[in-house]
């Protein structure tokens, strides 16, 4: 292997590259902030206090228009959006992030689809795993998540460990932030070009994407289609597949009641939305879902926790649905009004649209 000058030179080049990589990793570790950030600092859109805090996934994204909701109830609305996530994440946010907030929101609007809530361990794989809001030693979470299917052989287990090791390096641990920085910088540069060309869309993109909380793809989709919400995040995750499911369980044994209790303990009011899946809009109820919802309604009623029962709301017919269980623009407008009315009934904002 070392029998020729070219071969020796090649190995030296490889060695220098490796040493360079080690130096960068060590440097990144030294420069990294030693103090762990608090869990609440990982929130995307924390509440501004006194306002409405919507916490949810794509069903909320296609179901509630934050700006319209804010106008309807005359309150600030912040939207903590996590595409592709389920009840395990709402639990972790309520349990671990909420108590750390300096100021609690006036009311937290969150919800669930019964089909997924009955699978407490249900979540998707690594691209949006829930560990971000997890704290060590949370026995409730650990017990409920025992249904997670881990690798079923030593080879896969070793590969998973290797993956974890890689993601714990200083370089890889901030990969999402780095990609976002690159994408934001390139968008800002292209908006400058649009300004030079005098194209007015730059102002809209600055307001909604650069200063707002929407993605460029979402804004693009809404503009072109007249209101449809872009679900690229969901599609990307679906493309990876690997839904992890646990055993179905009773309502009282899942994450939903624990989330509601954690929110109640925080002192914030809450409104729990039980979503209406597409099959209900098509007039095909599932027995297990029906039972789960009945149990949920009874549980919340016993504790005087406000519920918005969209599940049985027949105004939401199939014409208001888009992709899967998601709503189209007309559906979103109606659901936003329904949420606003219910919040107003509960004393959170004005009641007149």
């Amino acid at each position: 292997m070392l029998d020729s000058p070219a071969s020796r030179r090649s190995l030296s080049i490889l060695l220098v590259a490796f040493l360079g990589l080690v130096a960068i990793e060590v440097g990144a570790r030294l420069l990294a902030d030693d103090e762990d950030d608090t869990v609440s600092e990982r929130l995307l859109e924390p509440p501004a206090g006194d306002g409405v805090w919507v916490v949810g996934n794509s069903i909320f994204k296609t179901g509630v228009e934050p700006t319209s909701l804010a106008d309807l109830i005359d309150r600030d609305v912040a939207f903590e959006y996590h595409g592709g996530h389920y009840t395990s994440l709402w639990y972790l946010i309520a349990e671990n992030a909420l108590p750390q907030l300096d100021e609690q929101p006036d009311v937290i609007v969150w919800g669930f689809r019964p089909r997924y809530a009955e699978l407490p361990a249900f979540r998707q794989n690594r691209p949006n795993s829930t560990e971000e809001f997890e704290v060590e030693g949370d026995r409730t979470y650990d017990e409920l998540a025992t249904g997670l299917e881990g690798p079923d052989n030593p080879f896969d287990q070793l590969a998973t460990d290797l993956d974890d090791q890689f993601l714990s390096t200083a370089l890889a641990s901030h990969r999402t932030d780095a990609t976002t920085t690159v994408n934001d910088a390139s968008l800002r540069a292209s908006l400058e070009v649009l300004d030079v060309l005098g194209l007015g869309v730059a102002d809209l993109l600055r307001t909604d994407v650069v200063d707002g909380d929407r993605s460029l793809l979402d804004v693009m989709n809404r503009i072109v289609t007249g209101g449809e919400v872009e679900l690229a995040e969901e599609r990307v995750v679906d493309g990876v597949g690997d839904f992890i499911e646990g055993e179905p369980t009773r309502f009282v044994d899942g994450f939903v009641p624990r989330t509601a209790e954690a929110i109640a303990d925080s002192g914030a009011d809450q409104l729990v939305v039980i979503w209406r899946p597409r099959n209900m809009a098509e007039g095909v109820p599932y027995e297990a879902e029906e039972r789960f919802v009945a149990d949920a309604l009874e549980w919340f009623a016993d504790r005087d926790i406000p519920v918005l029962d969209v599940y049985h709301d027949e105004r939401l017919d199939i014409s208001l649905y888009g992709e899967g269980d998601h709503f189209n623009p007309e559906g979103r407008a109606l659901v936003t009004e329904i949420v606003a009315e219910r919040l107003a009934e509960l004393g959170h904002g004005t009641s007149s649209p």
Binding site: S10, I13, A17, R175, L199, L217, V224
Partner: protein, 461 residues
């Protein structure tokens, strides 16, 4: 097993270490065959039967071709028919049943429900073509039949290139399997570099552009500028995805002491359609040239026949990519571009200005990628109409294009290093520039790599 998974990283490390601990080529081949079968069976072990059937067919038929030259024609038919039957059943049967059903429905005979709905086995288009190529090469006397089943089965199943190529030729890979292989410092450097380059193309470039492509192609009623930007982004994605796979395959093979065939040579630097096909998926282009175009008569039977042969070859090449009308259309579109280029070149032998040639070629390629990406006929027609007739949302399209620019720039940079350094590795001394470049690639993979890409696009073919 996906290259971009830690299961593969672990697999590759174990195989490489074990391989270099063994000294005898035969032992190394046993290890590589076992590893290749494990690699293929990792997703679904039942699919092993198909690849082994094709390999067995090629192995037996080639030996018989040599022993019974008087029966070469029927043997050749058998040698080709078995892999084609496997490919036809799993990949094309449902497509043709659907198309026939549409015709019978048109004439009022109803549509028979004969679809098999079989899952497409990964890599089927690649290993069947590789086997067919081998049988034809033996029939043509280009190569002696391989009598060692270990060597031949490894030729068909060699894991680095098994699921998405390069489609190896018997004349290149078989001799390498037979002989003792050595790995020196240059092999280590260039193998490692190719792997890093491949991962950069896949998980930094292709997978970060993927959400933009998916989103634009999901918009109903997208305007012409948006479709153009979506197609440009897809051009970047598919190049990063496919050539990234090839780079990783060639890099792994190099670390094992093998030299796989070149599959991409900066295709977007092409200044005419013919050059593009000499730079894009080179092993498939060469396969169709040698086993379809030339047997059809190539350019030896007059001008009109040459053009017909070109169109037939490109249309079949489109069909190879998938059992769907849009792939056929894509192949025919490129066939038309090649014909126009040939006729133009014949009439005006002087070279067209480079910039003009490049712009025209890229327009053909990008519009072609739109056809390739959209499988729904209605959406395809609407989109192609919008490209010409609907200039709306230009600003929005420009802003979206801006978000693709960093990945485009990275792709160009990677191509330049490949052009100046890697492709000349056998001519010049290893360059020290590779140290910082290699470090930068690995840093980018760690920092900017996307978790969300999933499979390689060409796994679907």
């Amino acid at each position: 097993m996906l290259f971009n998974s830690f299961a593969f990283v672990l697999f590759a490390v174990v195989v490489l270490l074990s391989y270099h601990l063994l000294r005898a080529p035969n032992q190394q081949n046993v290890l590589l065959l076992a590893a290749s079968l494990f690699f293929y069976a990792y997703g679904d072990w039942k699919l092993l039967s198909l690849i082994l059937l094709c390999a067995l067919d090629g192995y037996v038929v080639a030996i018989l071709l040599h022993r019974r030259p008087e029966r070469s024609r029927p043997l050749l038919v058998v040698g080709i028919a078995v892999p084609l039957a496997v490919l036809g059943t799993f990949k094309y049967f449902d497509f043709f049943v659907d198309e026939v059903g549409r015709l019978t429905e048109l004439v009022g005979l109803g549509s028979p429900d004969l679809a098999l709905e079989l899952a497409l086995p990964v890599g089927i288009s690649f290993y069947t073509f590789q086997t067919i190529g081998y049988v034809v090469d033996v029939h043509r006397g280009l190569i002696e039949p391989e009598r060692d089943p270990l060597v031949f089965f490894l030729f068909v199943t060699f894991f680095p290139q098994l699921v998405a190529g390069p489609i190896e030729r018997s004349t290149n890979l078989l001799p390498q399997i037979r002989r003792r292989r050595t790995v020196d410092g240059q092999d280590l450097l260039h193998g490692t570099y190719l792997i890093a380059q491949g991962f950069t193309k896949k998980i930094v470039i292709a997978d970060n552009v993927k959400p933009i492509v998916d989103s634009i192609f999901a918009i109903e009623g997208a305007s012409g500028p948006l479709i153009l930007v979506g197609s440009i982004a897809f051009a970047i994605q598919i190049y990063g995805d496919f050539s990234g796979y090839t780079d990783i395959a060639r890099g792994i093979a190099r670390l094992l002491g093998f030299r796989l065939l070149l599959n991409f040579r900066r295709p977007y630097w092409s200044t005419n359609p013919a050059e593009f096909w000499n730079r894009w998926h080179i092993t498939l282009s060469n396969w169709f040239r040698d086993y379809v175009y030339i047997p059809l008569g190539g350019n030896r039977a007059g001008r009109s026949r040459t053009l017909v042969n070109l169109m037939a070859t490109m249309t079949l090449s489109g069909l190879w990519h998938g059992a769907s009308a849009n792939f056929v259309l894509w192949g025919a579109f490129h066939g038309t571009a090649l014909i126009v280029h040939r006729v133009w070149s014949d009439r005006r032998p002087g070279k067209a200005p480079v910039v003009l040639g490049w712009v025209g070629t890229m327009l053909v390629v990008v519009i072609g990628w739109y056809m390739f990406r959209v499988t729904d006929g209605g959406q395809l027609i609407d989109g192609l109409s919008a490209l010409v007739l609907d200039p709306a949302f230009g600003g929005l399209a420009l802003a979206t294009l801006g978000t693709v620019v960093p990945y485009l720039a990275l792709m160009v940079a990677v191509d330049i290093v490949e052009w100046r350094v890697i492709d000349r590795a056998d001519e010049i001394d290893p360059s020290w520039i590779l140290s910082p470049v290699l470090t930068s690639l690995v840093v980018m993979i760690a920092v900017l790599g996307s978790d969300a890409g999933g499979e390689f696009i060409y796994f679907a073919f």
